[in-house]
């Protein structure tokens, strides 16, 4: 966090990004003309309630759904993901961790296969097996898992926290430019949460990756992010440095969100529901 934002190159930039579902009377504007600029090596958090359009925006960033209007620039150039070949190339640079670790794995594939797939994707297909094992062991030890204990196991034999950590081991192997984490800690307990956050920050420092964090927990956003975007009904109502936005919020919506989080050092006002 030492170098200032001006020095950092833009990694993912959006101008007037919009997503509309349906048409005519059933038209729903899920994401409404949002502008953003995510820099390299930055942890950015998008905060909003359920239904505010966070996940739709993340799907557009991942290239899973088309953008209705507006442009997304990747590393300064207009993003081009037409055709499956270009899309696959793009996905080497952007990876995701989802909310539900139990639903993130193909349960017919062993953990070895999950990790080997990553190596193949990175172009390490022709390496000797011993070297691959070495790389996988390194990735597992990065997230405090033991590869020897995991080999020949299936993902569902692990606990939720372990599965989520294995997800991070995948990211460690793939070394993408951007990581999109959609509520990665909401289904695991508070204790494993600190481990996961710790690892994500470490990974960011190691490979200078941009982390886009999507959450409704504003405490989490305050803790880890450099920049925060507050989203309400498909629009960004406030954005800026985490310290400024969360300690001195301007928008009413941000103030309400902050007042809804249980406090420890201040009185938590329950009357404002």
């Amino acid at each position: 966090m030492s170098n200032s934002n001006e020095e950092r190159k833009s990694c993912l930039r959006g101008v007037g990004v919009t997503k509309v579902f349906g048409s005519g009377s059933k038209k729903t504007v899920a994401v409404d003309h949002v502008d953003f600029d995510f820099k390299e090596g930055e942890i950015v958090t998008i905060v909003g309630e359920s239904g505010s359009g966070k996940t739709t925006l993340s799907k557009m960033l991942l290239g899973l759904i088309a953008v209705t209007e507006g442009e997304i620039y990747y590393q300064g150039a207009l993003r081009d993901i037409k055709g499956s070949r270009k899309k696959k190339e793009y996905w080497k640079n952007i990876q995701a961790i989802f909310q539900d670790p139990f639903a993130s794995y193909n349960m017919f594939h062993k953990i070895d296969d999950v990790l080997l797939d990553c190596l193949n994707m990175r172009g390490c297909k022709d390496l000797p097996y011993e070297q691959k094992v070495e790389m996988m062991t390194e990735a597992c030890s990065f997230v405090n898992l033991k590869f020897e204990e995991l080999t020949n196991k299936y993902p569902f034999e692990l606990s939720g926290g372990q599965q989520q950590r294995l997800m991070i081991a995948r990211i460690f192997l793939l070394k993408p430019k951007i990581l999109l984490a959609d509520e990665p800690t909401s289904m695991i307990d508070a204790c494993s949460r600190s481990t996961i956050l710790d690892m994500l920050t470490k990974l960011r420092d190691e490979i200078n990756m941009t982390v886009i964090f999507i959450t409704h927990d504003i405490g989490l956003a305050y803790k880890i992010s450099d920049k925060v975007y507050i989203m309400e009904h498909g629009k960004f109502v406030e954005s800026g440095e985490a310290e400024t936005v969360i300690i001195h919020p301007q928008a009413d919506y941000t103030k309400r969100l902050i007042s809804d989080v249980p406090k420890i050092y201040e009185e938590w006002d329950l009357s404002t529901v």
């Binding site: 803790k223 969100l257 249980p262 420890i264 329950l270 529901v273």
Partner: protein, 337 residues
């Protein structure tokens, strides 16, 4: 002294796996709650929080089995009672339960009113429907829930609303003890606050006489409950008032848990998050002696050699560790510098 609503003495329950192994998920747990008080239970996933909740209700269906101990609700001992009798006579009136995924517990083909009828008919089969409807409307009005919700199906309600409706239904008979098992974990912060406000209002108006609140979100427990109990591997490792537990935890495990608290308040951003290394033990063969010893950075060989009893100090506070309170405080202080 206020009347004790719930008293549990040395309760032990086990799961019998399909390989005929015993897993003691609740191991000699003792606790008590007085009228008008609430107790929070905190701990990692898999530490036995939810099993404790099921055991307290007397809900013993295989693979869960009762082993020993007493559960006394307002003077009546329900331990060892037949689960069917428990369902008829205890659930709903004496003790009520809000399960973890309560919002998914509603049958989508029935209207909300039908659930209310079911609950009341289970205890009083002769009560006329019109009376039940009046009761339901009155209760919903008191709790600030829209009356129209009663005529709707579950799918027409939002997640937060469903959760509040489930709470309203399960407490319609004004139980003496309410057990809420992670009632707000799947909700976003705004709905969570509404659920918490409702539970607090119910406590204040006496609709429920005492409450056990189970969650791993410590800032939430701090704001909701009077006392907090920390559970690890089936045992209670520490108990104290909410304030003491958050600001002055004694047991190394509680200390670790408190280090994982995240709140959006000024000055907390640079606080280092402490994670407890390792994973909770497998309860099939728990570690000898202190169960936390393999993960504890202060552990000595004696910790794993002998079983450790929980020690009392001060009012209602106890902890389960070999070190003395003074020694632990000294260690924590020297670490901070």
């Amino acid at each position: 002294m206020a009347k004790k609503m719930l008293e549990v003495r040395e309760l032990t329950t086990k799961y019998i796996t399909r390989f005929h192994e015993d897993v003691y998920a609740v191991d000699h747990v003792s606790l008590s709650i007085e009228e008008g008080k609430s107790l929070g239970i905190a701990g990692e996933s898999g530490c036995g929080k939810s099993t404790l909740a099921l055991s307290l209700m007397g809900y013993y269906f295989p693979p869960l089995h009762y082993t020993s101990g007493d559960i006394i609700i307002d003077g009546t001992n329900i331990s060892g009672m037949n689960p069917d009798d428990v369902r008829k006579n205890i659930l709903g009136t004496e003790i009520a339960y809000i399960p973890q995924a309560a919002m998914n517990a509603l049958n989508p083909t029935q209207k909300i009113m039908k659930f209310v009828e079911d609950v009341i008919h289970a205890h009083d089969p002769k009560m006329p429907k019109s009376d039940i409807h009046d009761m339901a409307y009155k209760r919903f009005e008191l709790l600030g829930l829209p009356k129209e919700a009663l005529e709707k199906h579950a799918v027409e309600l939002s997640g937060g609303m469903k959760q509040r409706v489930v709470i309203a239904i399960s407490t319609i008979l004004s139980p003496k003890v309410l057990i809420a098992d992670e009632p707000s974990s799947a909700l976003d912060v705004t709905s969570q606050k509404m659920v918490i406000k409702m539970l607090r209002d119910m406590m204040e108006s006496g609709m429920i006489k005492s409450m056990i609140f189970i969650t791993h979100e410590l800032p939430l427990l701090y704001n909701v409950t009077d006392d907090i109990m920390v559970m690890y591997a089936g045992q209670i490792v520490e108990r104290g008032t909410a304030k003491e537990m958050v600001f002055d935890p004694i047991h190394p495990y509680s200390k670790g848990l408190m280090g994982s608290i995240i709140v959006p308040e000024e000055g907390t951003r640079d606080k280092v998050l402490t994670a407890i290394p390792g994973t909770p033990p497998n309860l099939k063969n728990p570690p000898k002696g202190c169960r936390f010893a393999p993960r504890c950075k202060y552990a000595t060989p004696t910790c794993s050699a002998m079983s450790i009893e929980s020690k009392d100090f001060g009012e209602g506070r106890n902890y389960r560790c070999l070190m003395s309170v003074r020694k632990i405080r000294e260690v924590y202080e020297s670490e901070q510098q």
